[in-house]
């Protein structure tokens, strides 16, 4: 601080202020089957067949983690990862830590539905400036945790965001809307759900992977009861009965078939 015109005391005071303003980001992550997974069910179609399934960090959550880190790094803040799930998801949590997140919390319960997950996360989500989720998980596709968290915490929620910027306590978002895109702004704290285009997912480097091994991963017990909904059974889409081939020389015939046989145009 030598040569600092505001002096040593002032310098400490500025440092103190900056500490006060440190941006705190919470990113909620899901662990999902890899996108190439062939989906099947067992136990009379009541349970997802996990045999041979590779699990990954939900692709939209990967964007949320990345943008959360970029914002925290630019504003001198920190990123906490939260996940509701059993111990087998810890490898994926470590991946989020290896991307650069500071710490993680795992709430030790089966993530039965979005409402239970949101109720659990709401218990620990106070005090963050920005709470991020993916637009939806690619397994149960509820797309609801962000909105639920916003309502439970009494703060705004902005869905499907393709841009997040921050200045002077206010976040600016671009978000997809029906038939277009809009720009909205919102003072912290706010919940947002990440959509593709938000950023390029960050690939962990070797240093990050090594550092992630010793980063704090706190284990918490659930505090609420999952009593909103229950999946009774599953089914697969009915397979197509067979394709009817049309001669490419007579491709124009397709329009006639669609008009008069399939009756869809």
């Amino acid at each position: 601080m030598q040569g600092n015109p505001i002096g040593e005391k002032g310098g400490f005071f500025l440092l103190f202020l900056r500490k006060l303003k440190r941006m705190k980001v919470l990113v909620c992550i899901s662990v999902v089957p890899d996108t190439t997974t062939k989906i099947g069910f067992i136990e009379n179609n009541t349970q997802f067949n996990t045999a041979g399934v590779q699990y990954i960090l939900n692709p939209y959550d990967e964007l949320a983690v990345t943008r959360g880190l970029e914002l925290a790094e630019a504003n001198g803040g920190s990123v906490t990862i939260v996940h509701v799930g059993k111990a087998d998801s810890e490898a994926v949590i470590r991946k989020a830590l290896s991307m650069g997140a500071n710490e993680a919390i795992r709430i030790d319960a089966e993530p039965t539905d979005a409402q239970f997950v949101a109720a659990e996360i709401a218990k620990i989500a106070g005090g963050y400036d920005l709470i991020l989720t993916g637009r939806e998980s690619i397994d149960y596709n509820s797309g609801a945790v962000g909105g639920l968290l916003g309502a439970l915490l009494g703060i705004p929620s902005v869905n499907v965001v393709t841009r997040i910027d921050y200045a002077n306590g206010t976040f600016t978002f671009d978000r997809d809307i029906d038939g277009g895109r809009e720009t909205v702004s919102c003072a912290a704290p706010v919940v947002a759900s990440a959509q593709k285009d938000l950023c390029e997912p960050r690939i962990p480097n070797m240093r990050g992977i090594m550092a992630a091994r010793t980063k704090p991963l706190q284990l918490l017990q659930p505090q609420t009861v999952a009593d909103f909904s229950a999946s009774k059974s599953y089914e697969l889409p009915t397979a197509k009965t067979g394709v009817k081939m049309i001669d490419p020389e007579n491709a124009s015939q397709l329009i006639d078939i669609l008009r008069n046989e399939a009756k869809v145009i």
Partner: protein, 312 residues
């Protein structure tokens, strides 16, 4: 059910097709298990014609602000409480999906999104919803006495009903923490999630400069345009047009895939389409196994013929 409330979403002062579907869906429930259907209109759109789709009554709330998830959710939850609604139906659009969870949380209701069936009420309240991004469906029982359903567009037929709906207004003040600064709507284009016909292009089109053919066929058929993941990844088309597991899941009546091989992730997003046409020069393309009609041929030879016939 006693009181079913439907969020009657509107755009440019008209009710969307998905709103008409949601009201018809609610009326169908009322006809089978009893109850009245109330359509909730937020803003200045005239709800006089909503009786035609099955609403028994229409409640209008004159809120002048832009759509924001917090203000709209406050209004919907307030109306639901005042009407003692035990079921709220919204469309699974971007707007519908941003209000459904917030309202469910305020009403302590059970929530289901991506719903594609009427509820089965013989043992509980069970609905079918899309899971694994189109690769499967789940039958889910909703246990709370109050329920919120977000229903997938193009899943239910619009039925017409006679009789005028009772109209009333409610005055509710709502504030939003979100300021809408700019809205960019693509005008004259059909929204992909609600389109009945979708023309989609893949790598087989060779480059963005060839998209004119896709757009020409889409215009001739009144269709929306879409693309595969590689196409949006390479920046040929915006991500908002990417259909598939990590893009949008759609359910049109007709999906025409041009130059798309049919990877499992892509099929997940479109397999609920009623009729699928695959056009690909590779006869081994997996899409042919998932299609109703197929043409083995180069897009550049085949498409002009189809466009000419479509314009006829």
């Amino acid at each position: 059910m006693k009181n079913i409330l439907v969020f009657a979403e509107s755009a440019d002062n008209t009710f969307k097709k998905s709103t008409q579907e949601a009201i018809s869906y609610a009326r169908e429930i009322a006809e089978t298990v009893g109850g009245t259907v109330t359509a909730l209109v937020i803003g200045a759109t005239d709800g006089s014609n909503l009786g035609n789709y099955g609403a028994h009554q229409v409640v209008s709330v004159d809120y002048a602000g832009s759509f924001t998830s917090d203000a709209y959710s406050t209004i919907i939850a307030e109306v639901a409480k005042s009407m003692q609604s035990d079921l709220l139906v919204v469309s699974n659009t971007y707007s519908g999906k941003s209000v459904a969870p917030r309202v469910a949380a305020s009403l302590d209701a059970s929530l289901a999104t991506n719903v594609i069936s009427l509820p089965v009420t013989s043992d509980g309240f069970v609905v079918k919803r899309g899971v694994f991004s189109g690769k499967a469906f789940a039958w889910v029982n909703l246990s709370k006495s109050c329920k919120v359903l977000s229903i997938t567009p193009n899943s239910f037929e619009i039925k017409t009903w006679s009789g005028d709906a009772n109209k009333s207004t409610q005055s509710i003040s709502a504030t939003s923490g979100i300021a809408v600064e700019q809205v960019n709507k693509v005008t004259g284009k059909i929204a992909l999630t609600e389109a009945e016909v979708v023309i989609s292009g893949g790598r087989g089109l060779k480059g963005p400069e060839n998209w004119g053919m896709i757009e020409e066929l889409a215009d001739a058929l009144g269709a929306a345009t879409a693309c595969s993941k590689p196409v949006s990844d390479m920046g040929w088309r915006p991500h908002s047009e990417h259909v598939g597991q990590t893009g949008i899941t759609i359910k049109p009546n007709l999906y025409i895939a041009v130059g798309i091989s049919g990877a499992i992730q892509h099929l997940a997003g479109v397999s609920s389409s009623k009729v699928i046409v695959a056009i690909n020069k590779d006869p081994e393309a997996p899409f042919f196994k998932a299609a109703d009609y197929g043409i083995v041929g180069d897009a550049f030879d085949v498409l002009p013929k189809i466009i000419a016939a479509a314009k006829n």
